[in-house]
Amino acid sequence: MTKYKQIRIVLNNCGVIDPENIEESIARDSYMALGKCITEMTPQDVIKEIKESGLRGRGGGGFPTGLKWEIASKNHADQKYVVCNADEGDPGAFMDRSVLEGDPHAVLEAMAICGYAIGATKGLIYIRAEYPMAIKRLKIAIDQALEYGLLGNNIFGSKFDFNIELRYGAGAFVCGEETSLIHSMEGLRGEPTIKPPFPAEKGYLGKPTNVNNVETFACVPIIIRKGASWFNKIGTEKSKGTKVFALAGKVNNVGLIEVPMGTTLREVIFEIGGGIQNGKKFKAVQTGGPSGGCLTEKHLDTPIDFDNLIAAGSMMGSGGMIVMDEDNCMVSVAKFYLDFTVEESCGKCSPCRIGNKRLYELLERITKGQGVMDDLQRLRNMSNVIKDTSLCGLGQTSPNPVLSTLDNFYDEYVAHIKDHKCPAGQCKDLMKYFIIAENCVGCTACARVCPVGAITGEKKEPHFINSEICIKCGACMERCKFDAIIIK
């Protein structure tokens, strides 16, 4: 069973140390790696070590971190910047928040290491304003590190200076995209711009800027301390190390997990997650947030890594992992993500601004039982156009939830269109609550719980639901102990 064990690299200190006390971090080797870099290694050595470790960006794209640093190091300028992307916009994920709240020094140390490697003296953390606790801990950590001479000028008595400031997001998902993030830090609307130029050439205030995700940074100190060859033994051939996931949805054990790359979805959902709640049947697992897709039964034994998830029609994303059971309607799930995208699209380019809205409308039609079979081909065509022609990663990936549910749950779409039925019983417009008179003992429990008074009936007599009044909230069905209430 050792294979299933969780390994703590990123979450190593979380919950173990008092994050507001730097001495506890130092006692667990914080800033040792920075010291080693500055006193024993050249910037080139550091980049070489990170390259050899095989570390890839945890923010979603999986770009090799060492290579990114190398590019930034080769662009010369009077000022360069290291940016930590702590925008964490995936709605259902909180890995980065946990790292920042539980082990802020790991991120600060890594940013300084990056600064040393690429020749930058300024670091910026772009963090969501919705994370007040993480902001507070970071401020404390920065102050303490300055006080101990681990940040600031002449770190470890060397000539290396590194200072870190915070910048706040203001609730826009697209600001997680790096060009957009940079504009937001400059005080502008967070609209993406075409790459190239990449941030490594022209980033914050037009200067070379290296952007990495929180979790990517959190891997760096331990790689320097234990060596690239230690790190690259963990994981799969092309995806090294571990990945933190926020496991949520209909599994028994929800929460943060950290597993080596290459662990299968089955191990995560059934071993670590303890299987599906209430003995229901597993239906799908969504990874990659609004950019990802829904994977099914047939993908359960796929080892999780960057490339396998893409091949399966989803992606790693930042680490949200939402498990769904037989009661979740896949058309509605696709609609849920599209709703998110439509709201978060910055509106700069038309395929994303208009196309996603049209996709959403089609899905809405289908969930209301008003779809036609041609809609399915329309969904596909439009999805492909949006993917191919959108300016930034948001639009380029937004149709994925639609495409992956079309691929894996085609029959469910057809049932909505042809039979006007939602097999999962989730689409309200397609269902009616109904009491089976023979099963009803007249206990009145349902009538008491109905928020709109739609249920009538005498005590000990069969009850009746007035479907004109019923708002289809499902409360009565949950309450009935006699299985007398069904959805038709």
């Binding site: 259902g92 928040r97 706040y168 203001a170 826009a172 005080g187 209909k250 928020p451 499902g474």
Partner: protein, 162 residues
């Protein structure tokens, strides 16, 4: 900008000016200025945006563009007890939609609106990081977990005589 004559009191005007000054009246600090201003006033009506624009020497359109781009900024005052329903994925999968519907029905307002008595306002949030407790509802700073549509009545009742 002679139009700034409505609503803003001298005292408030000075507060906004102070905030802008604390960021050196720099245009690049616009978002930070807005954060601080909203923290103080609770929302950012057009009149306040005009003052900020003037202080930072930029067009009101630019300020308005930024305020409306970011969902954290609001131009409408919130209720005394702002209710936020998490509609992140985990909460959605566990039925946040029904909970939201029940709040809308009981308060008779839509998302983004405030009750006429100014007591409750309704908004949606995306993942507050308590997915294990899904569906999650926040009233002010207080978190309610595993909320069901029937539970909505009880939550509102807690604030009835406050």
């Amino acid at each position: 900008m002679s139009r700034i004559k409505v609503k803003i009191k001298e005292k408030d005007l000075n507060i906004i000016k102070e905030i802008c000054k604390s960021f050196n009246n720099e245009q690049g600090e616009l978002i930070n200025v807005l954060h601080k201003t909203q923290e103080h006033f609770g929302y950012l009506p057009a009149e306040i945006q005009e003052v900020v624009a003037k202080e930072l020497e930029m067009s009101v359109a630019k300020v308005y563009g930024v305020v409306t781009f970011y969902s954290f900024f609001t131009m409408k005052p919130k209720g005394k007890f702002p209710i936020s329903i998490c509609t992140g994925t985990a909460c959605y999968v566990r039925g946040a939609e029904n909970v939201l519907g029940e709040f809308k029905r009981q308060l008779n307002i839509e998302v983004g609106e405030t009750t006429p008595d100014g007591k409750f306002s309704l908004s949606c949030l995306r993942c507050v990081g308590a997915c294990g407790l899904a569906p999650v509802v926040l009233v002010g700073d207080k978190t309610y977990g595993r909320v069901s549509p029937e539970g909505v009545k009880d939550i509102l009742a807690e604030y009835n005589d406050k």
